[in-house]
Amino acid sequence: MATPVAAVEINKRTRRLLPRRVLPGFGLTLGYTMVYLSLLVLIPLSAVFVRSLGSGWGHFWEVVTAPRVIASLRLSFGASLLAALINVVFGLIVAWVLVRNTFPFKRLVDAMVDLPFALPTAVAGIALTALYAPTGWLGRWLQSLGLQVAFTPLGIVVALTFIGLPFVVRTLQPVLEDLDREVEQAAATLGASGLQAFARVILPALWPALLTGFALAFARAVGEYGSVIFIAGNMPMKSEIAPLLIVTKLEQYDYAGATAIAVVMLVLSFAVMFGINALQHWALSRHGGR
């Protein structure tokens, strides 16, 4: 176990130190990064903040504390978290199978993972609704089991899981590929069972990538509109996502109200992302030996 881990360790350390010492132009690249980020991210986002306060704090507060808005935020973030969690579990299995096993049409299956990326989200929404509606292929069976998927919050989770899958699989794949089989074999020779080897050796190495995949899938799900709108049913207080309420406000030419909800979504998303990053840092320092 000692040699490969140590080699990886040294490799990692030197790679981390290299840019600072050898490559010139740190100031230039940092400046470039800041300008680029400002132009692309900070300035548009600050415009959202400014516009949300267009009619004062009072209006802002009134908008974001309305029961319907709170219900939609709870739904949006709850469904996104659930969908991202589902993707972490099943995305890991998919990535594992794609990396470790060989089977016919593997490349085809591998390419299929990217489809949710490429498909226009509205098409995904319509297809999923056709499938899960009470009259659809799957929906008919589920309905007879007393489970309605389309036009309920469950349908929202299904759509968000669909669009989030590639994020988890594609973040895990390279890490799994880099993972030496010898490490597992070493664990086995030292007497670890398959489960023990997975929990103690493989999972710790995957944590950072799993968290990244989770964060990406979650972020994608929170902002999703096109696919959800067809399957959600859009009933106020029940199956109305926050982005739909933003559109509703815009439909009334209430720009301040629309951006107020957007600001709350931004702040919440940022808080979640920040939390995930902190967790990742902790996982790295604990398991990655940084």
Partner: protein, 343 residues
């Protein structure tokens, strides 16, 4: 030698001037070809395809000039927002006056009194709200009252996101008002019961039609008459019937020239004529062919057979006091529609 060069120069200038002259004349001839952008809502696509060709032919015959009209389609409210935010529409042809009012109120692109500039509230064609039911009308739906019955499932988009669906809501309200002893309270109670029978609130008319026609959900779809007729034409007459309620509302999709943009483009004359021609015999016939109700009585009589017979058609001005009031009372936050869902 100097003389020779001088002559060469003169010759060069001569050619230069000639080329310039030709270019100028070319561009002058070019100026007579103009382009209009018509920003419209979703279901008018086929109608304006036909109308634009007819208008181009008419305009060429009248002035000798060539006009080509580009179209943009989308949800009515979204289209209005695009124009407010800078989409350079010469004319707008939207689903409800409220969205064109926004061009005046939010963008200052047109004067507030725009609706009086053309006849008939600036709505050259109209439609109304009818019921699309499954073939043979298995749930026995004949009037608005049937939609509030417990076992009936109604499909209509959310009036909060769909401009067109606001007409559905107002038609239901108007029917309740016209019942014996009807007043605002009874109408609110009725509409509340109706919307409790709505299992899915799609965000737009297209989505609602898909839910009803393709997904097979619901017993009745509240739809604009032109879209209901089109749905039957497209899916074959074997699947759906149209039911005409006793009371409905005149849905007026209005049109307007966007003053600020036409003045900038220098297209005011042709843009105004483009909208006026909608009221002509040919414009009216094209509208009727695409199942909009024409304003011209002669054309209306000619096409009367294709439209539903609704005994009482009310207008938004007569019953609701115009769009601004209707919007504030019913569809703004904390309006009557929000109350249905407990707010």
């Amino acid at each position: 030698m100097i003389d020779d060069r001088g002559r060469g120069l003169v010759r060069e200038y001569f050619w230069f001037a000639l080329v310039l002259l030709v270019l100028l004349m070319g561009s002058a001839a070019h100026a007579a070809a103009s382009t209009l952008l018509n920003v419209s809502y979703d279901p008018t696509r086929e109608f304006y395809d036909d109308y634009n060709k007819a208008f181009a032919a008419y305009w060429k015959g009248k002035t000798g000039d060539i006009v080509s009209v580009n179209q943009s389609h989308g949800g009515s409210g979204k289209q209005a927002r695009s124009v407010i935010e800078g989409l350079e529409a010469d004319v707008v042809t939207l689903a409800l006056a409220y969205d064109i009012d926004a061009l005046a109120a939010q963008g200052g692109l047109i004067p507030a009194g725009w609706q009086g500039r053309l006849p008939n509230n600036s709505a050259p064609y109209t439609s109304t709200i009818v019921f699309l039911v499954r073939k043979g009308n298995p749930k026995n739906i004949h009037d608005w009252g049937d939609l509030a019955r417990p076992a009936v499932s109604v499909i209509t988009p959310s009036p909060k996101t769909s401009g067109g669906a606001r007409w559905n809501y107002l038609a239901a309200w108007a029917w309740a008002l016209k019942q014996p002893g009807g007043n605002d309270a009874s109408a609110e109670g009725f509409v509340k019961k109706l919307y409790h029978n709505v299992p899915v609130l799609d965000s737009g008319a297209r989505g609602a039609t898909v839910t009803f026609v393709e997904r097979g959900i619901g017993d009745v779809l509240l739809a604009w008459e032109n879209e209901a007729i089109l749905a039957i034409k497209e899916s074959g007459p074997a699947r759906f019937d149209i039911v005409a309620p006793s009371v409905s509302i005149v849905a007026e999709p209005p049109v307007a020239v966007v003053d600020q943009n036409v003045d900038q483009h220098g297209t005011r004359k042709v843009a105004e004529e483009y909208l006026k021609y909608l009221y002509s015999r040919q414009g009216q016939e094209l509208a009727a062919k695409h199942f909009y109700r024409p304003r011209d009585p002669a054309v209306a009589a000619q096409y009367a057979a294709q439209f539903a017979n609704i005994p009482q058609l009310v207008t938004i001005d007569a019953v609701f006091g115009g769009w601004t009031r209707a919007q504030a009372t019913h569809f703004a936050d904390h309006g009557t529609f929000d109350k249905i869902y407990g707010q």
